[in-house]
Each structure stands twice: as C-alpha cells, then as structure tokens.
C-alpha cells in the first residue's frame, strides 16, 4: 500500500498553511494526489457552542469564500506539477464530515494543522484535530 491520495483540510489559519506545505512536500516525494477540503456547515452552525439557523446569504458567502481559497491552493499545487482537486464538504460537524469523506473516497493519509479557527474549543490540542485523529480510519499527520 502506498500513499496515493492525501486529504488536506483547510481553514485559512496559519497551522493549516503549514500543514498544506508539509502535504505538498510529502506529495511530491510520493507522487500523490492532493485533495484540499473545506468543511462548511449546512443549515445549522454550532460555531458558537449553540446552534443557530443560518440564512441563505451567509451560507452563500461562506461557500464562495471557501471556493476562492481552495482554488488558490489548487493552483499552487498544480504549479508544482501535482495532481490536485478540491472539495467542499457540507456537514454540521467538521470531524464527521472529514472522516466520512476520507472513508468513502479511499484517502490514504490526512494531513492537518493542530489548531484551527474554532476559538472556544481549542484549549490544548485543537478539538477538531483531536476529533479527526480519534475517528479517522486512516493515518493522520498532525502538523504543529
């Protein structure tokens, strides 16, 4: 079994940037495909600790923001001659969305930053990173 597909969850934080760089590095060595993913909440967001219903406008905003980000990343990956694709996952829980995607699309490795943008829950290790490490069925590389 070799590393063919690498999933890189991206949330525009510094840690995610570092994780992306590491992923590029590893992908170049193993000649792997990079899948850049961003998770946006569906109808309900639990970012503040309680769920609020999002109106359509803010949903569209989030989606277009994610689109722009992922396009940029895709271009940088393609400049280095790597195969890459981007995906926007819609799930209310980031961890679940990522692990589900990884399972159904046969991802060989997840590379992610240790901390992200979830402000309230990031005390020690980022809560999302910890959740993904716990739940994923593939190896997870946590970049600090």
């Amino acid at each position: 079994m070799t590393i063919r597909k690498i999933l890189v969850p991206f949330d525009a934080s510094g840690y995610a940037n570092r994780a992306f760089k590491k992923a590029l590095n590893i992908a170049q060595i193993h000649n792997a495909e990079i899948v850049v993913a961003s998770v946006i909440p569906g109808k309900y967001s639990s970012n503040l600790g309680f769920s609020i219903k999002l109106d359509k406008k803010s949903k569209d905003q989030e989606r277009s923001f994610a689109d722009k980000l992922l396009l940029k990343l895709k271009k940088t990956a393609e400049k280095l001659g790597l195969k890459s694709s981007s995906v926007i996952i819609v799930d209310s829980s980031v961890e679940k969305g990522l692990t589900k995607y990884a399972k159904s699309h046969k991802i060989d490795m997840i590379i992610m930053g240790s901390h992200g943008r979830t402000f309230f829950r990031k005390l020690v290790l980022g809560s999302v990173a910890e959740g993904v490490v716990n739940q994923a069925s593939c190896p997870v590389l946590v970049v600090k």
């Binding site: 070799t2 590893i26 020690v124 490490v133 190896p139």
Partner: protein, 141 residues
C-alpha cells in the same frame, strides 16, 4: 536534500508494528533514517514490592528481541535503522523528552499501544505525544 530521521516509538504491540510499516513506507522514497525507540518502564507496583524475579532484565530482553525484528524488516526495505532503549516511568513523557534533544522530522506512533486501562479512544501515550511535542506527529491506526 539532507537525510531525514523519523522517530518511531515501539512497544511490541500490533499497532506499533503497523506504525513501523507506515514509517518505512514514508521513509523509502526519501531515503530517511528510522530510529526505533523502546521505552522500558516498570509499573509502580513492581517498583514498590521489589519482586524477586528479574523483571527488568526480562523486559529488556523482550524489547531487544522486538527491536532486532524491526531492524530486519527495515533491512529488507533498504532503510537505515537505529535502535535505542531508554528507561523511564511514563512512556509519553519520555518519548517527548527524547525527541527534544535531537532533531527529528516526524514522529510516527501507533494509535493504541499496550496500556489496557486507558485505551478507550486514542491511546493515552500517543495522545500525550500529540499534545506535547512540536514535531509533526503521524498517528497510524
């Protein structure tokens, strides 16, 4: 490109074997070195009661055996393997402390080791390492 070193903490469990396999897989195209670290630690009960069987020697013997096996598998794949046995009381702490002095490019750990009490989710040792080191950590399931 300079040679990289990957730290692989081993404890003789199935998961640590899998971690070693993954480490080999990553190391192969990069031509990096693998350092297998085995932390020998006696449970507190054994330290207090001072049993008459030579418990510690047995542990070291086992670890040496396991590391030799690991070396062989690395040799088959053409990778330099270095082994190190350290004595400690808390594997997670010792692994982090060990990794601080030397420059490693990655730590590859199995998600769950031998500790049966705290193995509910991710292993306690791998969790500790994940939280307390500054080096990228690859958790292998």
């Amino acid at each position: 490109m300079k040679n990289k070193t990957i730290l692989v903490p081993l404890d003789g469990s199935e998961n640590s074997k899998r971690a070693l396999k993954k480490a080999i897989e990553i190391a192969k195209p990069e031509r990096s070195k693998i350092l297998g670290l085995y932390v020998v630690y006696a449970p507190p009960a054994f330290v207090i009661s001072k049993p008459k069987i030579n418990f510690k020697e047995n542990l070291i013997h086992d670890s040496q055996k396991f590391l030799d096996n690991a070396k062989e598998t690395c040799k088959k794949n053409g990778i330099d393997f270095e082994s190190k046995i350290i004595h400690g009381s808390d594997p997670g702490f010792d692994i982090v402390k060990f990794s601080e002095n030397k420059k490693f490019d990655m730590i590859v750990v199995g998600a769950r080791g031998l500790n049966p009490v705290k193995k509910i989710l991710i292993g306690s040792v791998s969790n500790y390492v994940l939280n307390n080191t500054k080096i990228p950590v690859l958790v292998v399931k």
